[in-house]
Amino acid sequence: MSAIEFREVFFRYNEESPFVLKNFNLTIEQGQTVAVLGHNGSGKSTVSKLVNGLLTPQSGEILVNDTKIRTSNVWEIRKNVGMVFQNPENQFVGTTVRDDVAFGLENRGIPRDEMEQRIKQSLMNVGMEQYMDHEPHHLSGGQKQRIAIASVMAIKPEILLLDEATSMLDPKGRKEILATIQTLKKHGKMTMVMITHDLNEIVLADRIIVMNKGNIYLDTTKELLFTHHKKLESIGLTLPFTVELALELEKYDYQFALYPLNYKEFNKELWTSNLNK
């Protein structure tokens, strides 16, 4: 069973503007962790908003767990699709952090005992348990985002969409969220779609989709992603510094079997490359 399927989807924001998605097809299997990359305006955020019915395509079909999204079932679908946006400012309803995480659980009629336990657990997952009684609007941007992620995780959705969810976090917050994603990936059968620019998030993905001009430009893995460096640069994406350095060294006839994603991989590859030279 596929978790998410796009069939010949066309979408534009209004009749005067060009199509953001043009005959877009994509299947994501259950349990997959997928990273979606692309520069601003490539259509990647549109994809995530279509998956939970925030947007409706002009033509084509979108299926979640093999069920086509319609106006009649969009609320059912959303129960299974948790979404975390880039900017947490617009996602708060509760007067305390606890109330805020409780909001989604109350809406779903979760019993009180379980609710308390889930609130605690999900706040612990994002390292915010000591802020349970704080007012959300007094938290910093990064802390707010961690609460937003906790609120979604408390509902235990089958599909989790993260739309540049870590882009506002500080390095510590980002690491915690990445660790959380990793834990979810190990334990659950959750399908995760991460829309991201962050290399550390990309590394967590089983599959990487690069979007350009409303279509899939590359469908690859993290190991192979940067072998397409020319293609990536031609659509305005930047390469990690370690890959750029490896490419510079190739000019001096050093060879890299793998394009290194961090300094350890780089120096290891360089060691081998230097031996074989």
Binding site: Q143, K172, H197, T238, F241, K251, N267
Partner: protein, 289 residues
């Protein structure tokens, strides 16, 4: 304009159960024309600190001196208009503050409020749109039909139109894609160099602090934790780790390289091509041995 913090503390909602001391006993001096990076984890007091620099917040204790202005809690209300003309703040997500019908009107808004004559405003609008590297045909457009990165540039142009002597940047690259980040950081550096503008950058991105700042101030739990030039700061790996800050990858890579291959490469803001060359040269020389 020199900036000095003398034993500055600030408490939000004092005398209430929610009282929270965001910064305490801060002593700092920033000279005219410096490029300063302020780093620190979330909640370390960075944003509170910088709001003192143009009098948006007044210290609960201590005083802040900016040029001839002295700001402290027992100040009478003074006219901060001149100060705010000279200290421009680019807040986080400045594009959220755009509201006018056209880009031109939006950029004019600040200077207009400060009573700058019309023909002077038109001049400033043109020069600031140029500084943010947007074409003049943007002036007629609605800011809301632009892309996120373009909107941010318009918002920044609005701050530059005040012709500030001090430019404060609160995480100016947040939410931009990597290419947008590189472009905008280069743009600020250019402004800093060509106008001798004092630049205060608040950032989570240590590589930006490394690449551009003359001096780095590390905040932790509302206090100054460390202060020094980038080389000094980033050599204190353990101390940084204690406050959850990373060393930029380029430095870790060079350090690891030097250890593994017995190298002597130093980070000197060299380009990637130059670094590659140094690596190659190192291996060439060592082959001869």
């Amino acid at each position: 304009m020199d900036i000095q913090f003398k034993q500055v503390s600030y408490t939000y909602q004092p005398h209430t159960p929610f009282a929270y001391q965001a910064i305490r006993n801060i002593n700092l001096s920033i000279s005219s024309g410096e490029y300063i990076a302020i780093v620190g984890h979330t909640g370390s007091g960075k944003s509170t600190l910088l709001q003192h620099i143009n009098g948006l917040l007044l210290p609960t204790d201590g005083e802040v001196q900016i040029g001839e202005y002295i700001l402290s809690s027992n100040n009478k209300r003074q006219d901060l208009r001149k100060l705010r003309e000279k200290v421009g703040i680019v807040f986080q997500y400045p594009e959220h503050q755009l509201f006018e019908e056209t880009v031109e009107k939006d950029i004019s808004f600040g200077p207009h409020n400060f009573g700058i004559p019309k023909d002077e405003i038109s001049k400033r609008v043109l020069s600031s749109i140029e500084k943010v590297e947007l074409q003049t045909n943007f002036l007629e457009k609605s800011p809301f039909e632009l892309s996120g990165g373009q909107m941010r540039r318009v918002a920044i142009a609005g701050v530059l139109a005040m012709e500030p002597e001090v430019l404060i940047l609160d995480e100016p690259t947040a939410g931009l894609d990597p290419k947008g980040q590189i472009d905008i950081m280069k743009m600020f550096y250019q402004l800093h160099q060509s106008k001798q503008m004092t630049t205060i950058l608040v950032t989570h991105q240590m590589d930006h602090a490394l690449k551009y700042a003359d001096r780095i101030i590390v905040l932790a739990n509302g206090e100054v934790y460390m202060e020094g030039n980038p080389e000094e700061i980033f050599s204190k790996t353990n101390q940084l780790q204690e406050v959850n800050l990373d060393v930029p990858e380029i430095l870790t890579l060079i350090q690891d390289f030097n250890q593994r291959f017995n190298g002597t490469i130093r980070y000197q803001r060299q380009s990637i091509a130059e670094l590659a060359k140094e690596i190659v040269e190192h291996f060439r020389e060592n082959k001869r041995l």
